[in-house]
């Protein structure tokens, strides 16, 4: 029996295309919870983690996930814009969603202009984050700001 989804997705009924997610974030609790929640979604085939975070772009190139969740505030002085540009250039099939707790208009225009497919504030509900992942998978560009 397929797991019940807590959130109705906009994928067509019966569409179980496998998808993987790479989460580039130093918040392990978020990655674990996201994996737990995504495991209820039809087609979810696994969560990758970038370890070490300094090799995040290389990890993306190696595992080629369908969706990359990229936190804006990474430790050790990691240049997130550089990470985004490298993933967009080297792994163009992977669609990047920017995650941030401090959304600004400049950050939206810069990251989306550089090739991110989504921009999600950490202030939105869990439902909207899951929904954004599905929409980006489908090829929609998504901007989800605070309620």
């Amino acid at each position: 029996m397929m797991p019940r989804s807590a959130v109705p997705t906009d994928l067509e009924a019966g569409s179980y295309i496998r998808f993987t997610v790479l989460c580039i974030d130093d918040n392990e609790a978020l990655i674990d919870a996201l994996e737990s929640r995504l495991s209820l979604e039809a087609g979810f085939a696994g969560m990758y983690r970038a370890a070490p975070l300094t090799d995040a772009a290389k990890t993306a190139a190696r595992v080629r996930p369908d969706v990359v969740l990229l936190d804006v505030n990474l430790p050790d002085g990691i240049d997130v814009i550089q990470v985004l540009q490298t993933i967009v250039q080297d792994t163009p099939a992977s669609r990047v969603i920017i995650l941030t707790g401090h959304p600004t208009g400049e950050l939206v225009t810069e990251t989306m202009g550089l090739g991110a497919w989504g921009f999600v504030s950490k202030g939105v509900s869990a439902e909207r984050l899951i929904h954004a992942i599905h929409r980006v998978r489908k090829g929609d560009a998504v901007i989800e700001l605070d309620d």
Binding site: A6, N73, G101, G105, G113, L114
Partner: protein
């Protein structure tokens, strides 16, 4: 005490007073930084918790007690998330280009109410009447939060002597905008405060508690969003602050009835950002209408990709005609294109779209966008 000792004491007192003022500023700055950090950390902690709750709710068999418990846990976490949003609003830099330039007053109040309770004296009654039908207002939620909090802090100071401190917030549609009113039971320390608030020269005055100086600054910030702030005093005590805000679709900067913008962006990422910028500017995307309307309503501005220009004349501008739509192109101009009647915007600078739309006939703005 000798006169010399007295002078020394007086000097020390002055130095201490100055140092205390600096200390106070540093303390407030530190509190601001901590508040912003707290909001960030709260969000980082709450998102996993909410995801876990969703996963738990979806993975277990229906059970009335468990479902009720999960519902209440989710409610509590959502309230904390709302608190984190409120803290973010209070610490946002009003000069920063914000991602959201419009505010839905109902959800905004939901985030602000706990903070307003925290900022007022215990026992203050706070009541709000904001209808769901109130339209979006054209002001960044962070700016509105900071203005409102400053008003509440003033009102709270003025209500110290009040036997029944209370604040009543209402939002009403008024003419072509929305009026957000904060009625309070306080007595202004001076009848000059309302006048001071409207006096731009008060920028130069020392900032004192309840003097209205900070309100002057906030009023000017509101005016940048075509809003305004007025104050009224009631007898025998009590008063009201009225914040006038423009409705999103009726901004003065861009009149939607005059500027019809068609987005012809094949790149969905660029289209999403362009829609966000249009929304911030008080515009909605123009789409072709059927039947009669189609003939009379044509777009005045077309925003498109560089790829769509492949077949156009690269040297000769289109003859100027009122029905000729302006072209704003997202991308880099090809080297052989010399036409000067096209505005080019780099994909990473789509925020300039707002500026280009705001001053469609201003060559300087176009050059900057180029």
């Amino acid at each position: 005490m000798s006169a010399r000792e007295l002078r020394g004491s007086s000097n020390r007192s002055e130095i201490t007073s100055s140092a205390l003022a600096h200390l106070e500023q540093h303390r407030l700055a530190l509190l601001g930084s901590i508040t912003a950090g707290m909001a960030h950390h709260l969000r980082n902690a709450l998102m996993p918790a909410l995801l876990r709750i969703d996963a738990l709710a979806a993975s277990t068999q229906p059970h009335a007690t468990l479902n009720a418990d999960l519902f209440h846990v989710r409610e509590s976490l959502t309230a904390l998330q709302s608190l984190a949003t409120g803290l973010s609003l209070l610490t946002a830099d009003p000069r920063e280009l914000v991602a959201r330039d419009t505010t839905h007053l109902v959800s905004w109040w939901h985030d602000m109410e706990p903070l307003i309770h925290a900022a007022t004296t215990a026992g203050t009654r706070i009541r709000a009447e904001i209808a769901q039908t109130i339209p979006l207002v054209w002001v960044a939620p962070g700016l509105l939060a900071q203005v409102t909090m400053a008003l509440v802090v003033n009102a709270n100071a003025w209500m110290r002597a009040s036997p029944s401190p209370r604040i009543h917030v209402t939002a009403r549609q008024h003419l072509d905008g929305v009026c957000l009113t904060l009625r309070h039971a306080g007595e202004m320390p001076s009848h000059g405060v309302p006048h001071n608030t409207s006096d731009p020269l008060r920028f130069e005055s020392p900032i004192e508690v309840s003097s209205g100086t900070r309100l002057t600054l906030l009023r000017e910030l509101l005016r940048e969003h075509d809003g305004d702030l007025t104050m009224d005093e009631f007898s025998p005590s009590g008063g009201a602050f009225s914040i006038r805000l423009r409705v999103r679709h009726e901004t003065r900067r861009i009149d939607p009835s005059e500027v019809r913008v068609r987005l012809a962006l094949s790149n969905p990422r660029h289209a999403a950002v362009a829609r966000m910028v249009l929304s911030q500017s008080g515009l909605t995307e123009w789409t072709a209408l059927e039947g009669e309307d189609r003939r009379s309503e044509a777009p005045q501005v077309i925003v498109c990709d560089a790829g769509m220009l492949a077949s156009i004349d690269r040297t000769t501008p289109l003859p100027h005609h009122t029905s000729t739509p302006r072209l704003i192109v997202v991308g880099a101009p090809p080297p052989d294109l010399t036409r000067r009647d096209i505005t080019w915007i780099a994909p990473t600078q789509l925020g300039l779209l707002s500026e280009a739309l705001r001053a469609p006939h201003d060559d300087a703005a176009v050059r900057r966008a180029n």
